[in-house]
């Protein structure tokens, strides 16, 4: 497992500076929430850690982000092995238009060739069990992943990710399309998983941050305004802006 250290990170989309001098440390086996109003740069920060921002043209970064003594924002970073180590769950569940089975073994097939059918079956069973979907889905593994409910899709996306054995889980508002019950079950799953990963979750749902996270960072207009233990942020914030946000003055 790996910690993430962010030092003097700046990021521009063309002329627009989306991240301003961010310094922060994420600890393993903990869930860290990043909160803040829309457009504050929280998703951008998350997408730095698996270099997903590279898909957008005109992105430029300075500073360093250390994972396992490697500066992952440098040009030399091997994106395939970085993304294998740093997995991501998206806002809208995005299973591939393939069968449930094929969705799960995707990561295996991409990273290792010549796996036996037996080994793949084992992988599918293990990963579905770890997201508590096995009993529901074991008889319809060959059905299209599109036949699942939104919650099941999101679980499937987490299962698909676990197969790759990442060390860090990035979650970009993973519950924003789910109903409250499904949300609480996914949060339950996060707590189950947290001991094996460094988890970072971006959310604009403050209650969710308060419920699941050990540490919380508050971002505003590209700056990380405050970072600390979740209880402290929500009960005795040091910065006036944090207080205004969590008490609902804006956002």
């Amino acid at each position: 497992m790996a910690d993430i250290s962010v030092n003097n990170l700046n990021l521009w989309y063309g002329d627009f500076q989306a991240l301003i001098n961010v310094n922060v440390h994420f600890t393993q086996k903990q869930i860290t929430a990043i909160i803040g109003p829309s457009g504050c740069g929280k998703s951008t920060l998350l997408r730095v850690f698996n270099r997903m921002n590279d898909l957008i043209e005109g992105v430029r970064t300075t500073g360093e982000v250390m994972i396992d003594a490697e500066n992952i924002v440098s040009e030399k970073t091997d994106l395939v092995s970085l993304r294998k180590k740093v997995g991501m769950v998206f806002q809208r569940p995005n299973p591939f238009p393939l069968s449930i089975y094929e969705n799960i073994v995707f990561g295996q097939k991409v990273h290792a060739e010549g796996l036996t059918k037996l080994k793949l079956n084992e992988v599918v069973e293990d990963s579905l069990k770890s997201v508590f979907l096995w009993d529901e889905l074991k008889d319809k593994l060959n059905k299209s992943a599109f036949t699942l409910s939104l919650e099941q899709k999101q679980r499937l996306c987490i299962a698909r990710l676990i197969v790759v054995k990442p060390e860090i889980l990035l979650m970009d508002e993973p519950c924003s399309t789910l109903d409250p019950q499904a949300t609480s079950r996914i949060e339950e799953l996060m707590r189950e998983l947290k001991n094996n990963y460094t988890t970072i979750i971006v959310t604009h749902n403050m209650q969710q941050a308060a419920r699941v996270s050990d540490q919380t960072g508050f971002m505003l207009l590209g700056e990380l305004v405050e970072f600390g233990r979740t209880e402290d942020i929500f009960t005795k914030p040091k910065d006036k802006r944090t207080e205004d946000y969590i008490t609902g003055r804006y956002g």
Binding site: M52, L55, R92, N94, P95, F106, R160
Partner: protein
């Protein structure tokens, strides 16, 4: 007064809309009426599976099997050439090419679509045909292969632009999902994007082939027009379309020959109808 004007305009538009259907029905009826008359002198079986096409000998032999083979062979050849290149080109444009090259390629493809078929046939006749003759040491370069190559150029724009469109409309979230799992660009393309766009790509291929099978001028100019069942792709063939175009002028109106040409028209109509329906089915599957 205003109401009246609305009424007139509405009805006019209605008539324009119905006109297209009306003409299609009319053409179809005429084609059927003239075409089916041939079966007074030859059975449908002998017409479709007869091995010789000698429409002006006495008695006339009206078997179109060589023509069907000619059309299928040229089309198959064109498909084998144009599908891989067309789909690969679509993948390159949709996924890999930098913006400038992408724009240039798309313009180029559109330009290719704009070349009249007679010009392509002419270019094929003076460049491709002699080349094929000398490369394969043939008595003539007017072969099914020459036709296939030129027709591949005509199918390509359709295949590329529709397949590119299908790839482009694959949700970005699939690509992100695959990248986030550590897939390389190529793995993402062939494991996720191509399967996701498959129905659109099949439709693209079908529409491309539909264009090829109905093409007349270029094939007439470069396939040699020999109405024999081809034993290889390096011999002259005659297609259904070229037969109609070449012989309609000299067929006596109301003769067996004349009706036979209409019947060939029916066969062609059915072929392209099936291809278009298949393409449509796949397009709808994609939109669902």
């Amino acid at each position: 007064m205003r109401k009246f004007r609305e009424f007139i305009i509405e009805k006019l538009i209605l008539i324009c809309g119905l006109a297209s259907i009306f003409f299609v029905v009319l053409i179809f009826l005429f084609l059927t009426k003239e075409g089916l008359s041939v079966f007074k002198s030859v059975t449908p079986f002998n017409f479709l599976f007869g091995k010789s096409w000698y429409p002006i000998s006495e008695p006339a032999q009206l078997g179109i099997l060589p023509l069907i083979f000619g059309s299928l062979l040229v089309t198959l050849g064109a498909a084998i050439i144009s599908i891989p290149i067309g789909v690969a080109c679509a993948v390159y444009i949709a996924e890999i090419a930098p913006l400038k090259i992408k724009e240039a390629l798309k313009a180029g493809i559109e330009l290719l679509a704009a070349i009249p078929s007679v010009v392509l046939g002419f270019i094929g006749m003076v460049t491709l045909v002699p080349w094929i003759k000398s490369v394969f040491h043939l008595p003539t370069g007017l072969t099914a292969l020459s036709g296939s190559i030129i027709l591949a150029f005509m199918a390509m724009p359709t295949i590329v632009s529709i397949a590119e469109d299908a790839l482009y409309s694959v949700p970005k979230s699939y690509k992100e999902g695959a990248f986030a799992l550590g897939a390389t660009h190529w793995q993402t393309i062939y494991r996720v994007l191509l399967p996701a766009a498959s129905s659109g790509i099949v439709a693209a291929v079908m529409l491309g082939i539909g264009r090829v099978i109905g093409e007349t001028m270029a094939v007439m100019m470069i396939t040699g027009n020999a109405a024999v069942i081809p034993q290889s792709i390096l011999v002259p063939v005659r297609t259904l379309t070229a037969t109609i175009a070449a012989e309609m002028g000299e067929a006596v109106v109301g003769s067996e020959h004349y009706f036979a040409l209409f019947a060939i028209g029916i066969v062609l109509f059915i072929m392209s109808f099936i291809i278009n329906i298949t393409a449509d089915l796949f397009l709808h599957k994609r939109n669902r």
